[in-house]
Structures are given as C-alpha cells and as structure tokens.
C-alpha cells in the first residue's frame, strides 16, 4: 500500500457532529470544528471531561457515525469507506460482547470477520488471549466475565488481526491497578512494534506515562494539543531526594545553595503513590481466574 502522506494515521479536518435531540430540530453539538492529526507510530491520548465528545469523535473515525460537516481520514482513506477499517482495531467504551460465546470463540469470531484464516487463526487467537492475560478463562462464557475481564477480551479482539492503528476508548475503566499497569505495558509494547495507538482515559497519571502526544477536548472543542513532555515537563526545576536531614544541616544546605545563587523551593516528605503500594503488595500472577 502506498500512501501519499504516510506520516498520518488519522487526519480529522473541520469536523462537526450534531445530534438531533427531537423532531422539532433541536440539536446538540457534540463535536465542533475539530482539526486533529494523529501521527503514525505514536501513542496519542484524547482527553476531556464526560460528554466532551471523545467517544463521538472515535465513532466518526470508525465510520459508525456520519459527520455533520468536515472530513476524517484513516491512513489517507475516508472513514465512510469500508477499507478505511482494514488496519484498525477498536475497543469500545464499557464493552459488552456476545455473552453466549466463550472468550476463545468470541475472539475467533472477530478474527474470522477480519479475514484471519487457516493455521494462523488458532495460533493468533491463543496468542492475543495470552497477551491480555485471559488464558485461564478462555473457555468460559463471556456472560460470566467481570468488567475488567470484558475489557481484556475486548482488547484481545481489537488486536487479533494485527492492525496498524488501535483505538481504545477507556481501556482501563473498571480494570484494577494491576490490570491497568499491564494494559499500559501492552500499549508500550505495541508502540515498540511501530503501531499507532489512540486512547481515551480518565486516569491522567496513566495517560501521562504512556502517551507521546495528547489533545484535550472540552464541550466538543479542541482546547489544547501537544507533546506530553512539552506540556508537563518543568525544565527549570529539579528534585533531589535525600536521607532525612537534621534541621541545622538543612540550614547549611540552604546557605550553600544561596552562595551559589540558588534557592531551595520546597522541602517535602516524598510519599509512595497508593497505586505503587498496591502494585507491590498484590500478587500479579493468576490473571482472569483459574479454569
């Protein structure tokens, strides 16, 4: 496949989406004049408060909704076309799947829809189920899965045909911190494989750790976009972490700094983050329950 502009995985231009709320023509503008480019090979975070239009934007990218105005292209192909979805994997928010299938059957079903066939089919299905840590529960009906397990099987289904672009709408909602950390790891692994990931999440700390670039939406409008390091890095500051200092030594240190033209801005007791504490205490292994 040859693309004229190979660098953009998703190109959104002047996108507006109105929902008509009733027959009298009252409309709700969910997305307004959005222009956004997701470069290939990056992890891109789409942030914003509830109802700011993140999921709506994603559905337009996938051709599930038609835009009211503007255009949207995936790898240079307009979203309305079926072939724009050839290289895309999608995990919807609060996913829910055919509850009468087992996890294995479910992933296999989607794999076959995406044209994975023959010997590769079973191997690939087993592989992605293992990646998301559900091997132990693969033979159970999806109807018996917990919320976090649904997210994981959803992730498996999104990855099964080895897409170049993966769109994850709140992949960590309802997932415990251990699972969330594992999903972050998985996303970083995808990035090293050269995949593009578009992710929405409310866990800003997590987004910050894995995203190269973020865009923030508010009431359908883009209010901020940029590289994470540029946005949150404070280059004019540095933190030193030392053993507890007696008061007089601290005063000495201040003086020492002052003679060199520096000031000590803050003295704090560093605290372990609760999620790190959780991660160190909770066992990581048996995921997804036993058979």
């Amino acid at each position: 496949m040859t693309n004229a502009v190979p660098s953009a995985a998703i190109e959104i231009r002047d996108l507006t989406k109105d929902f008509s709320l009733n027959l009298r023509g009252i409309k709700l503008r969910a997305v307004e004049n959005l222009t956004l480019t997701v470069p290939e090979g990056q992890v891109f975070g789409l942030l914003g408060p509830n109802g700011s239009g993140k999921s709506t934007t994603i559905k337009i990218i996938l051709g599930l909704l038609d835009p009211t105005a503007g255009e949207c292209k995936v790898f240079g192909v307009p979203s309305r076309r079926v072939d724009s979805r050839l290289n895309v994997g999608y995990l919807p928010e609060a996913p829910y799947f055919y509850r009468y299938l087992s996890g294995m059957e479910l992933v296999k079903f989607y794999a076959r829809i995406c044209g994975v066939t023959g010997k590769r089919l079973d191997a690939r299905v087993a592989e992605v189920i293992d990646w998301v840590g559900l091997s132990g529960a693969a033979k159970r009906r999806v109807g018996t899965y917990s919320k976090g397990m649904l997210q994981r099987i959803g992730l498996a289904q999104a990855l099964v045909h080895d897409p170049r672009l993966i769109i994850l709408d709140e992949p960590t909602a309802g997932v415990d911190p251990v699972g969330a950390a594992e999903i972050s790891e998985l996303i970083l692994k995808l990035k090293t494989q050269g995949k593009t990931v578009l992710i929405t999440s409310h866990l800003l700390a997590q987004i910050e750790d894995i995203c190269d670039r973020v865009a923030i939406l508010d009431r359908g409008r883009l209010i901020l976009e940029g590289n994470v390091t540029e946005l949150v890095g404070q280059r004019d500051r540095q933190a030193l972490i030392v053993d507890p200092l007696p008061l007089e030594q601290l005063e000495e240190l201040k003086e020492w700094l002052a003679t060199r033209g520096h000031t000590l801005n803050a003295v704090e007791q560093p605290r372990a983050r609760l999620d790190q504490l959780f991660l160190s205490k909770v066992s990581r292994s048996p995921k997804g329950g036993k058979e």
Partner: protein
C-alpha cells in the same frame, strides 16, 4: 465515493460467519426449546381428535391442523426471532464492535437474515417431519381398520407435504425480511414486533381488498389497490392447495413460480433494509 473505493470486495464468507453466529445465538439462548412443547402439544391434540373417529377425513383434519399450527407458530417465531436477534446487537452495543471491522453493512444485514432464515428452516423441517410422522402413523392405523377406503393405496402425498413445508419456509423468509426492514429504522424491539404483526395481517388479507375493489371502484382507486398489491407481498399465494397433502397433487410449475415470487420479495425488501440501515447511527 470514487470508483476505486471498492478495495474490500463483498464477501459471502463474512456474511455466512455472521449468519452462523446469529444461528448459534438462537440455539444457545434456547430459542428452540419451545419447539419441544409445541411438538408435544401437537401429538397430544392429534390423539385427542382421534376419539371422534372421523375416519379418513381425520387425516385431512390432522393435516390442516398441523399446517395451521406451523403457520401460526412459525409466523410468531419468525417475527420474534428476527426482532430479538437484531436488537440484541443494537441494545448490547455489539453492533458497534462488529461494524467497526472491515465489513459491509450489506453483509451484516443479510447475515442476520440468513441466520434467522436458518432458524426458521429448522423449525419448518421439524414441523413437517412431525406432521408427516403423525399422518403416516394414523394412516397406517386407518388402513388396517378400514381397508376398503384405501384400495388405491395411501391417500397422503408425502412429497407434497414437503413442498408445502418448504413454501411456508420461504414465506417466513419474506416475513423475516419485512421484520428486518422495520427493525433497520425503528428504535425498539416492541415497535418492530407490533409493526411486523400488522404487516403480516396485511400480507395475509391484501387479496381480499384487491378482489373487492377489482369490481366496484373507480379506475384510479383500482390502480392504487393494484399497486399496493405489489408493494405488499401476497401471503395467500403460498397456500397452494386447500387440503394440504390430501387429494390431487401439486403443480410443480406453480410451486416454482411461488419460489421465484418469494425470492424476488426477499431480495428487494432485504435491499431496502440494507439501504435504510446504511445511514443508521450506531
């Protein structure tokens, strides 16, 4: 769309995968369980009517009764199953996941159709088999009791019975397509079911209106009724004989015409369903 847009060709394979999954849902959600009850009820009532000792007209009675049950429960099953299997995708938002794959909405809709059609096909096959079994059993009994009434051999045409079963299946196919068309633009399961039953009644009774207006009405009104007669399929054409499987045999060429009639309606109505679904916001 540009002419080169079509790099994902229409795939019968994907359509069949969707159909298979739809059929599996019907099986695993135990949609077929009611069949067992129905079969028991049928056999029991056939036993019950035996008491009246109808003689060989009893066979006609069983046959009519059996087909009546097939038409009634088959229509109900078709409408309920189509609406349910379609709306379970919408309400559980599984449609979101599947339509985000490289799949045509045509494949999705016709896949759903084919899945339902298979479900109804199993129903028709089992009902026909059951009815044939009942008739054969009773006919054999009557033959030993009243050999004089059967001097030319068996009076039931079992092959015709099978043909009639298949024609009913096709009729349910048209009904499933109509239900799918209504479902494609409606928001609720209940609305779809009610509207589809309404359509079922119209399709069964439209010939009455056509006959009545053919004589009396003015030309424009008569034309309108004629046109409506084409818009709504006429379900009466699927009942080839008054007495099913009994008496003179079926005309094969008429049966073939009916098959073509059904396939055309399924194609056109299915196409409309695809068209209406293609702009639906998921």
């Amino acid at each position: 769309m540009s002419p080169m847009a079509n790099t994902v060709p229409f795939s019968l394979n994907r359509l069949v995968i969707v159909a298979g999954n739809t059929f599996l849902e019907a099986v695993r959600q135990k949609l077929f369980n009611f069949l067992l009850l129905l079969a028991i009820a049928l056999v029991a009532s056939a036993q019950f009517f035996r008491e009246f000792n109808f003689g060989s007209s009893e066979l006609k009675f069983i046959s009519d009764f059996g087909f009546g049950a097939m038409v009634f429960f088959g229509s109900t099953l078709t409408i309920a199953a189509t609406a349910q299997l379609f709306f379970s995708e919408i309400e559980n938002r599984t449609a979101l996941t599947i339509l985000a794959k490289p799949i045509w909405r045509t494949e999705f809709i016709f896949g759903k159709f084919l899945g339902v059609f298979a479900v109804v096909g199993v129903f028709c096959a089992l009902m026909t088999l059951l009815l044939a079994g009942l008739l054969y059993h009773r006919e054999s009994g009557l033959m030993t009791m009243h050999p004089e009434a059967f001097e030319h051999g068996r009076i039931i045409h079992y092959a015709d019975l099978v043909v009639m079963g298949m024609l009913q299946w096709l009729k349910f196919g048209v009904l499933a397509a109509i239900t799918l068309l209504i479902a494609s633009f409606s928001n609720t399961n209940l609305y779809t079911v009610v509207m589809s039953f309404f359509m079922l009644v119209i399709c069964h009774l439209q010939y009455l209106a056509r006959d009545a207006y053919a004589q009396v009405a003015s030309v424009p009104l008569r034309l309108l009724v004629q046109v409506l007669g084409y818009v709504f399929p006429n379900f009466q054409v699927f009942n080839l004989a008054d007495q099913i499987g009994v008496g003179s045999g079926l005309d094969a060429s008429v049966a073939l015409h009916v098959v073509v009639y059904a396939l055309i309606y399924i194609g056109v109505i299915g196409g409309l369903a695809v068209y209406s679904f293609s702009s639906r916001e998921i």
